[in-house]
Structure formats: structure tokens, C-alpha cells
């Protein structure tokens, strides 16, 4: 293809996106579009799968049978999200094994929030309420993103995430209606998860490298700072409603902006965790790599078995044919 032909294709491609048409896996797409989408969708898939670990940590210790069942179902939903996000990613010409390899080698990233430990039951509430809450704010705009398989996956993911968020908030409500010990547990969880949740919406716009191109492809529809503001404005009244105090002395309603002003985020901490030095980075990777390597003989067996079955079938149909003739 000549350079001019490629330029033409690119122009047509951008026009399709501008017209809100969906790009499908078999359509022509610029290499950069493909790569960016593989990166973002796989990062999202990895986040779902690594995100199973901090909550999975409380399955055996959930305080009631009802909570245990809800938590199991929630973590299972995350596995499901991982599964169809990996599938969406595979339509771009990369295998799940390759994607895992990128995760395990540290080449691919996942949401840094999952590198914090879950130390009390209240963390199950805080994660549902704040982490899933922030995730929804990030993801709702993606239901209209340009890449068809990703947009469709997001519609389902968002529905389930919003259920998880309500469930998390409900855990917090219950704690805040409980004993002093329970209230303290809830407040402590908010204190630990508040700032990492704000960081979850990404670096400030000035520091964000991918934003402009991503906006054009509708991979991103609002800037990180706008999303963060939206999250804060939405969450502060929810905290106040149940008697929780946001751990930010600078938090104040700004009448003029119609938004909350908030304190300085500790970006050093953010970058430290992103670079792999958070409290749980090593443990999370160890668990993922452990499950993958420990499961290799199982996957090999399944493969060998299915090959044997195939062979048997072929032999059977060959001998059947012989009989017939």
C-alpha cells in the first residue's frame, strides 16, 4: 500500500469515529489504534483479575453467610469481567497467554489500588463503595468508546460494577449503624482507601501522557482531573450521609465552582506504587504467577486429553467409514 493510500484509510477511519461509528475487529485500523487498545483493554482485564485478590482475601472470613455469598459472587463477577475483556483484547490479534506473560513479567500494568492490603472486613465495604465507584466513573464513558467489542463489554461491566458499588456502600451503612467498634472500623477503612481511590483516576492532566490521542478515539472522554472532581463531588455527600468523615482537612465546598476543593494528593506515593513498590505489589504478582505456574500441569493435561479425544473420534469415524464401504 502506498503512503497516500494509508493516509486515505486513516482519514476515513478518523471520520468513522467522528461519526460515532463502531470499529470492529476485522475493520482496518491504524497500528497505533490497535496497540493502544491492546494496552488499555488488557490493563483493564489485568486489573479485574488482580483485583480478585484483595477481596478474595476475606471470603473465608466474611462475617455472615449472606455477606460471604455476596462477596463470592462479586469476586466471581470480576473474574467474568476479566474473561470478556481478555476476549475483547484477543480480537485485536494477541493471545491470552501473551497477555498473561506481559502481566507476569511486569510489562503490563494493572490498577495500582489493588496493591494495598485489605486488613479488616470494612475494607470490603470501602473497596465496593470507593474503588468500584471510581471505576464506574472511569468506565461509564467507555460504553460509547469507538472500539465495538470494548464498548459492548463495558456496558455489561458497568451494570455489574454499579451493583457492587451499592453493595459496598451498604456494608458501610451497616457498620455505621452498628457498635462503636464497627463505626471505627468503617472510618479506618475510609481513611486508608480515600486517597488511593483519588489516585485511581490517574495522574493530573499535566502529567498524563496518553490523553489527547485517547480523547480522539473516544477511549477517554473526560480528563483525569475532571473525573476525579466528579468522583469527589459524588462521594462526599454519601460519606456525610452515614456519618463518615473524609480524611482531608482541606476539603471544602466551593460555592462558586459548585464543587468541592480538596487537598494535595501525595503523588510520590502514587508513583512509588505504580513503579512496583506499593505495600502489596510483590504479593499480588506472586499470587498471580503462582496460580499460573502452579496450574500449568493442569492446563497441559486438559490439552493432552482433548487431543486424545480428538484422535479417538477420528479413528472411530475412519473405522465407521470402512465398515460402510
Amino acid at each position: 500500500m502506498s503512503e497516500e493510500q494509508i493516509r486515505n484509510l486513516e482519514t476515513q477511519f478518523e471520520e468513522r469515529i467522528a461519526r460515532d461509528e463502531k470499529i470492529e475487529p476485522k475493520d482496518w485500523m491504524p497500528e497505533k489504534y490497535r496497540k493502544t487498545h491492546i494496552r488499555q483493554i488488557s490493563q483493564h482485564a489485568h486489573s479485574e483479575v488482580v483485583g480478585m485478590l484483595p477481596e478474595g482475601n476475606w471470603i473465608t472470613r466474611a462475617p455472615s453467610l449472606r455477606r460471604k455469598v455476596a462477596l463470592l459472587a462479586k469476586v466471581q463477577d470480576e473474574a467474568g469481567h476479566g474473561l470478556y475483556l481478555y476476549s475483547a483484547c484477543e480480537t485485536l490479534g494477541i493471545s491470552r497467554d501473551e497477555l498473561y506473560e506481559q502481566l507476569h513479567s511486569g510489562k503490563a500494568k494493572y490498577s495500582s489500588i489493588f496493591n494495598y492490603p485489605t486488613v479488616t472486613w470494612a475494607d470490603m465495604g470501602a473497596i465496593g463503595w470507593l474503588v468500584d465507584g471510581a471505576a464506574i466513573i472511569n468506565q461509564v464513558p467507555l460504553c460509547n468508546t469507538s472500539f465495538g467489542p470494548y464498548a459492548r463489554a463495558m456496558v455489561r461491566v458497568c451494570k455489574e460494577e454499579s451493583f457492587h458499588q451499592r453493595q459496598g456502600y451498604e456494608i458501610m451503612i451497616k457498620l455505621m449503624n452498628g457498635t462503636q467498634e464497627q463505626k471505627d472500623m468503617a472510618q479506618d477503612a475510609l481513611n486508608r482507601w480515600w486517597w488511593p481511590s483519588l489516585m485511581m483516576l490517574g495522574p493530573t492532566d499535566a502529567e498524563s501522557v496518553h490523553t489527547e490521542q485517547s480523547m480522539k478515539w473516544k477511549l477517554k472522554r473526560k480528563s483525569n482531573d475532571d473525573l476525579r472532581q466528579q468522583f469527589i463531588d459524588q462521594t462526599v455527600p454519601q460519606a456525610e450521609l452515614i456519618g463518615l468523615v473524609i480524611p482531608d482537612p482541606d476539603l471544602k465546598w466551593n460555592e462558586e465552582r459548585g464543587s468541592y476543593d480538596f487537598g494535595e494528593i501525595n503523588w510520590d506515593e502514587f508513583w512509588q506504587v505504580v513503579k512496583g513498590h506499593g505495600p502489596m505489589n510483590k504479593e499480588r504478582m506472586k499470587a498471580r504467577v503462582g496460580a499460573w505456574e502452579g496450574g500449568e500441569w493442569v492446563r497441559d493435561a486438559a490439552m493432552a486429553y482433548s487431543e486424545k479425544q480428538q484422535e479417538r473420534k477420528e479413528k472411530q469415524s475412519a473405522s465407521l467409514k470402512k465398515e460402510v464401504s
Binding site: T60, V69, L72, V75, Q76, G295, W297, A302, A304
Partner: protein, 250 residues
């Protein structure tokens, strides 16, 4: 309160509770995302059944006891699950072997429990058997895949089956409460399931190129509340919140 019926329900439900707890602990650590989801599903099914049984037991007890009190606040000696379900997840072969050896029993048991004169129990059995029929298919398929997969998987699967075999006979023991319930047409006479159980198990093992263990030495005690050393640790996690924060709502 009908003590025998109460005790009988625990005898059924505790198996699902402990196996559900074991399977739930694996969430996020499965050999593939698909098996991870399936194992969590089995755990979810089992806990769903557990809740129905304990809610019924709480009703029979007729005091302030709740399903959670029954699930999480008994001393170890009062849990009456079979030893099989508390055995650890040494590797995925053990997980599937434990599941399989229980599922085959569970399916036969629920098939009979559906005929119980106790309408609540027969309704729970009726609902659960659909789930358990799936569990049975899932674990049997894995016995075949691992048994007839690679040399390594075959070896691991055979080891797991050999090792867990000693816990199978207990499934067919009857407690005094069991006998009383059988006499009333409420309980299932498990002794009548034994032959079919071993036939079905053998059928799957043979189709998986695995050997049926010949050992006649079996372990028992779970139904009397005398457990293996694993049980205390399972309960330590299961009961942690209820013990550390008594009398609270969650």
C-alpha cells in the same frame, strides 16, 4: 424442638458448609480463569444450600439462634461434616478428587432426599440436585482430563484418589439421629447408596485410566464431631469475625 431432625439437618448442611469454605478459598487462585469461575460457582451453590438448611434448622430450634450462629458459633466437636470435605487443597488433583468423591455421593443422596416426608427438606433437595448434577459433571470431567491427560497429571490424580479413598466409607455411616429420621420417612438410608456409589465412582475412574484403590482401611469420626487436624484452622477463619466481634450485625 425435634432434636433428631435438627441434628439430621446439620449432618447434611455441615458437609456443604465446609466444602463450600474450602472451594471459596481457592477463588482467584485457579489454574485458569474458567476453572476459577467454576469453582467459585460450586462454592456459591453450596453456601446457598447451607443457608436454606440452617434457616430451617434455626426455625426448628425455635430460639433466637440464626443461620449464622449455627454456621459460625459452634465448637469444633459439634460440627458433624464428614472428614472428606475438610481435606486440604494439596493440589488441583486433590481439589477435584475431593469434589468428585463427594459429588457422586451428594447426587445419590439428594435424589433420595427429594422423597422425604419433610416437605422443606424435599424442596431443598429438589432445588439443590440441579446444581449438584452440574458439580458432578464438572468434577467427573476433571477426573477424566487429569487421569487420562499427561503422565504427570495421571500420577497426581491417582495419588489424590488413593489418599482420599480412606474418607469415602464414612459417607455411608449412620448416626443415631440419621436412624431415627430414616425410621420416620424423613431421612435417607445412606447404607443403601453404598454399592451404587462405588460402582459409579469406579466407572469414572476406569474411564479415566485410573485404578480403583483396593484399600479397606477407612477413617471416620466427622459425623461424631471428631475431625482431622485441618478442621480447627478452617473454623478459625470461618468463625473469626463472629468470635472477634460477638453480637453484631453485618
Amino acid at each position: 424442638m425435634n432434636q433428631n431432625l435438627y441434628q439430621y439437618i446439620l449432618g447434611i448442611a455441615d458437609n456443604s458448609l465446609i466444602l463450600g469454605q474450602r472451594m471459596g478459598a481457592l477463588t482467584g487462585h485457579g489454574p485458569s480463569l474458567e476453572t476459577d469461575i467454576a469453582c467459585t460457582n460450586i462454592s456459591l451453590d453450596l453456601f446457598g444450600q447451607v443457608r436454606s438448611y440452617y434457616q430451617y434448622a434455626a426455625k426448628i430450634a425455635g430460639d433466637k439462634r440464626t443461620e449464622d450462629d449455627i454456621a459460625m458459633l459452634r465448637p469444633e466437636r459439634e460440627y458433624v461434616n464428614v472428614l472428606l470435605v475438610e481435606q486440604p487443597d494439596t493440589d488441583f488433583a486433590y481439589t477435584m478428587a475431593r469434589q468428585f468423591l463427594f459429588d457422586i455421593y451428594h447426587f445419590l443422596f439428594l435424589t433420595e432426599l427429594q422423597k422425604s416426608k419433610d416437605l422443606t427438606l424435599s424442596a431443598i433437595a429438589n432445588k439443590s440436585i440441579k446444581e449438584v448434577s452440574y458439580h458432578q459433571r464438572f468434577s467427573s470431567d476433571w477426573i477424566k482430563r487429569l487421569g487420562d491427560g499427561t503422565e504427570e497429571s495421571h500420577k497426581r490424580m491417582q495419588t489424590a484418589i488413593d489418599d482420599l479413598w480412606r474418607y469415602t466409607d464414612e459417607l455411608f455411616h449412620q448416626t443415631e439421629a440419621d436412624k431415627a429420621m430414616v425410621a420416620e420417612g424423613i431421612g435417607v438410608d445412606v447404607t443403601t447408596l453404598k454399592d451404587t456409589y462405588y460402582e459409579k465412582v469406579a466407572e469414572v475412574l476406569e474411564a479415566s485410566t485410573l485404578e480403583v484403590p483396593e484399600s479397606k482401611y477407612f477413617q471416620k469420626g466427622g459425623k461424631q464431631g471428631v475431625h482431622t487436624e485441618h478442621m480447627g484452622y478452617i473454623l478459625a477463619e470461618l468463625q473469626y469475625m463472629q468470635r472477634a466481634y460477638p453480637n453484631m450485625e453485618w
